[in-house]
């Protein structure tokens, strides 16, 4: 069974998040069940068509009730299992000690903002957005909290620590999708949406846009780098230094 599961995973990208294996397990379970039902149904179809009966017999009711009951129980069980995973992922909020990172989608790039040493994000205003002038998010200079915010075009995270992403968009709807983290959430302009997860494996991963946002939709990508905690601290410190000296 384990081998079959691994074989089926050939198409799924690697699991780099903490919740990934459980999600994959549920997905593969569903896929195998679907495949089994598909094969069974087609076998029945072909058998019924090719095997000629002698007399027309009424199919007894039990052959209609039992499969229905089995399917009901099966779908109910799958739903309950999946709702448990969903509750853990979305209904339960992020841990209070989760690291906060803001993700902003614009046509056609992703920006990532770290709150800096004051652990607070500065206010942004759309009127101040000026990508060419070095302020792509429109951080308000009047707000003290924004002074130490670090803006990056790659998302760097420490391994093993839960992170709470604040998803925003400046213009149209975008979709923040990290296949290897099994993570997807739309960034809706006018709202701040939260999604939390824990990156487990260090590495470099793809961030894709999953909601049609215009002609550059297929080119709206970014990179997520997961580093061991010490390397992450070094990276963040370096970025903060570079920000200060600007």
């Amino acid at each position: 069974m384990q081998n079959l599961a691994m074989a089926a995973q050939w198409w799924l990208p690697q699991d780099a998040a903490l919740h990934g294996p459980a999600l994959d397990h549920q997905l593969l379970l569903n896929l195998w069940i679907a495949l089994a039902l598909l094969v069974l149904a087609h076998v029945l179809l072909f058998a019924g068509l090719l095997l000629r009966g002698k007399k027309l017999r009424e199919i007894p009711l039990v052959w209609k009730i039992v499969p229905l009951v089995v399917l009901t129980v099966l779908f109910t069980w799958l739903t309950v299992k999946s709702e448990g995973l969903w509750a853990d992922a979305r209904i339960a909020g992020a841990d209070p000690s989760a690291m906060q990172v803001e993700v902003t989608g614009v046509q056609f790039a992703w920006y990532f903002r770290y709150p800096g040493t004051d652990a607070a994000f500065g206010e942004t205003r759309a009127a101040l957005v000026d990508a060419g002038g070095g302020n792509p998010l429109g951080i308000d200079p009047a707000d003290a909290h924004g002074a130490d915010d670090v803006v990056s075009s790659e998302l760097v995270l420490p391994a093993g620590r839960e992170v709470d992403l604040r998803l925003r968009s400046l213009d149209v709807m975008h979709g923040f999708f990290v296949p290897e983290m099994r993570l997807k959430q739309n960034a809706v302009p006018g709202s701040v949406l939260h999604v939390h997860f824990t990156p487990a494996k260090p590495g470099t991963y793809a961030i894709l846009c999953s909601q049609l946002c215009g002609l550059g939709h297929y080119r709206m990508q970014a990179t997520m780098r997961v580093l061991p905690q010490s390397e992450f601290d070094a990276w963040l410190a370096e970025k903060a230094r570079a920000h200060e000296t600007r």
């Binding site: 206010e123 707000d143 006018g190």
Partner: protein
């Protein structure tokens, strides 16, 4: 072999019976139906051997159609209401403060009068509708004793039309009071979502009512010129139920908190007199006199 079914006949709208304009024979409203084959019940038994379902067939056909159309219409208005409710509560956070930009516009108080007018018009419409079905009158018509049903219904129908036009005039006044001018600028008067919702609700409702008034005019023509009792019944019944529904939709829309009640206008009768006193010729004459 030609097609299984005979070549599709061209559907020509019911040709009125080739009768001369002046009624001949008994019954100016058409002869009463009497071709029923008696003997035996049965589901859907044919009334006249041709699959007809007897008197009331057309009515029984038109009512479900109107019901389904009104269901669709109700869904349309319902989704407008849902949009309004969502927008009313929408907010964004600015500098840590929740900001809701809903500025309720003052609702002109003439709308209360309009509502009363519309409800009254529903009453008159229902009176018109019932008089067309009054059995005694239908029988009289079949027996050639004139068109009492039409004569009874006509004044109520006219009253409904007048009240409907009054309602539309009142709506127009309300729009003028809210500062809307005709034409191009009107579209850009949507300075707030409250205003926009108000315009959408009242605008679409008024458009529906205008269609209703057109229907009333058609009913007028039908009452005067249609030869069959059935035709008049169908037209009047359809328009009446449509009209009632528009009244119901209006009540539903009016009950929503789209705006706030307008503050009462200050009542200063002396203002008029002072205006007269200080206006040019009069004041000159007064000053001269004094």
């Amino acid at each position: 072999m030609p097609t299984l079914t005979p070549p599709p006949p061209v559907y020509t709208p019911e040709k009125k019976e080739q009768k001369p304009r002046t009624p001949q024979g008994p019954g100016s409203g058409g002869k009463p139906p009497y071709r029923k084959r008696t003997g035996g019940g049965g589901d859907g038994e044919s009334w006249d051997g041709k699959g007809g379902r007897g008197p009331g067939e057309r009515l029984r056909r038109t009512r479900p159609a109107l019901i389904f159309f009104l269901i669709g219409d109700a869904m349309f208005f319902f989704s407008l209401v849902v949009v309004f409710l969502v927008e009313k509560g929408a907010y964004h956070v600015d500098h840590g403060i929740v900001v809701n930009t809903w500025h309720a516009i003052p609702i002109p108080s003439i709308l209360w009068l309009n509502t009363a007018v519309l409800l009254l018009s529903s009453v008159t419409m229902e009176l018109a509708r019932r008089s067309i079905f009054h059995e005694q009158h239908v029988m009289d018509e079949w027996l050639g004793l004139g068109k009492p049903a039409a004569r009874q219904a006509l004044p109520w129908l006219l009253a409904t039309a007048v009240l409907g036009i009054l309602f539309l005039a009142g709506q127009w006044t309300a729009w003028m009071q809210l500062g809307m001018r005709r034409g191009y600028e009107a579209a850009y008067q949507n300075a707030s979502l409250s205003h926009a919702s108000f315009n959408l609700f009242t605008g679409f409702h008024a458009a529906h009512l205008a269609v209703g008034i057109l229907g009333l005019s058609a009913c007028l023509g039908v009452l005067l010129f249609a030869r069959r009792v059935e035709t008049r019944q169908v037209w009047l019944d359809t328009t009446a139920w449509y009209w009632h529904c528009m009244g119901l939709f209006w009540i539903g829309l009016f009950a929503l908190p789209v705006g706030k009640p307008a503050p009462p206008r200050p009542r200063r009768p002396e203002a008029f007199i002072s205006l007269m006193i200080h206006s040019g010729p009069f004041s000159a004459a007064m000053r001269a006199a004094l």
